[in-house]
């Protein structure tokens, strides 16, 4: 329960900080004509939006193929980052290999966080299942 509150707190504070960043750069762009920063923010927002959309689509389509879906997920992240990088100048020309420097740590961190979450879920389910088994044994004994 405490972890859930902490997680919700982190998520909401991150969402609010994203909103503030977006709004500040929005004002800069419209009032002070500073469009370059706004474009960077917008490109990141669109990138994140597409990544999440693609991830959901891959999970839905390749639900029972964990290895393929994981590889495809990473391939999509790299390809999209490569395309966005060229379009919005995220890295200089000739430094395309930077794609991997950017994506591997972020993807690995995301993967680890997800894995930790699922591991906790697995522990929780196993605890509930063992409690359930104990209850069944008790019920059987009391009926006898």
């Amino acid at each position: 329960m405490k972890m859930k509150i902490f997680r919700d707190y982190i998520i909401s504070s991150l969402a609010i900080s994203m909103l503030i960043i977006f709004w500040v750069f929005c004002i800069d762009a419209f009032f002070y004509n500073m469009w370059s920063n706004f474009k960077v923010i917008m490109s990141i927002v669109i990138f994140a939006f597409i990544i999440c959309l693609m991830q959901s689509a891959i999970n839905l389509a390749l639900d029972n193929r964990p290895i393929i879906s994981m590889l495809l997920e990473y391939a999509v992240v790299v390809i999209l980052f490569f395309c966005f990088g060229i379009k919005f100048n995220w890295y200089s020309k000739g430094s395309e290999w930077f794609v991997f420097i950017y994506t591997i740590p972020v993807y690995a961190a995301g993967y680890l966080l997800r894995l930790i979450g699922v591991r906790k879920d697995a522990n929780y389910i196993n605890i509930k299942l063992s409690e359930r088994k104990k209850r069944k044994v008790q019920e059987t004994e009391s009926n006898n």
Binding site: D63, N64, A122, I125, N126
Partner: protein, 154 residues
């Protein structure tokens, strides 16, 4: 628990449960009685069988065909997976991935797989995959059942 049987040729089949307090045992009894009305038909080599829903371990849809797995048999169903889920969800069946629903009663343990999925081991030793999207449904079901017992003890 006493069972009173009354033969009345003029009335329909009626089950009356008299209880002191609504607890998990009464709930289970209600579920068991309700399950009598649910007819799940499976066919094995053209021979149709009415299955007891508590004998079903899991139901899987493969290439738009629905298969019902019991402890050691496989039956084909003419119904779609979502239709079966609708009929069975109140009896402890939950969706565990896009193409599979499982009877929680037969779940023995779970183990983490890479790519944030769970490998569920059933009481007959078989394994099925639980995807991340459907983990909350399983937790919710187990929590709901545990709450019933806690309320009873309280």
């Amino acid at each position: 628990m006493d069972i009173i049987l009354v033969e009345d040729k003029e009335s329909d089949l009626e089950v009356q449960i008299r209880y002191q307090i609504m607890n998990a045992q009464v709930q289970q009894l209600i579920q068991r009685i309700k399950s009598v009305d649910v007819k799940i038909v499976g066919s094995d080599n053209g021979e149709e069988t009415v299955l007891n829903i508590y004998d079903i371990f899991y139901i899987e849809s493969i290439e738009r065909k629905t298969f019902i797995y019991t402890k050691d048999q496989i039956f084909r169903s003419s119904k779609k997976l979502y239709q079966l889920l609708d009929e069975l969800k109140e009896f402890g069946f939950v969706q565990i991935n896009k193409s599979c629903i499982m009877n929680i009663d037969v779940l023995d343990s779970v183990k983490t797989l890479f790519n944030s999925k769970l490998k569920a081991t059933l009481i007959n030793g078989e394994n099925v995959i639980i995807t991340r999207t459907y983990i909350p449904a399983i937790k919710k079901w187990l929590d709901g059942e545990a709450d019933l017992y806690e309320n009873e003890n309280f």
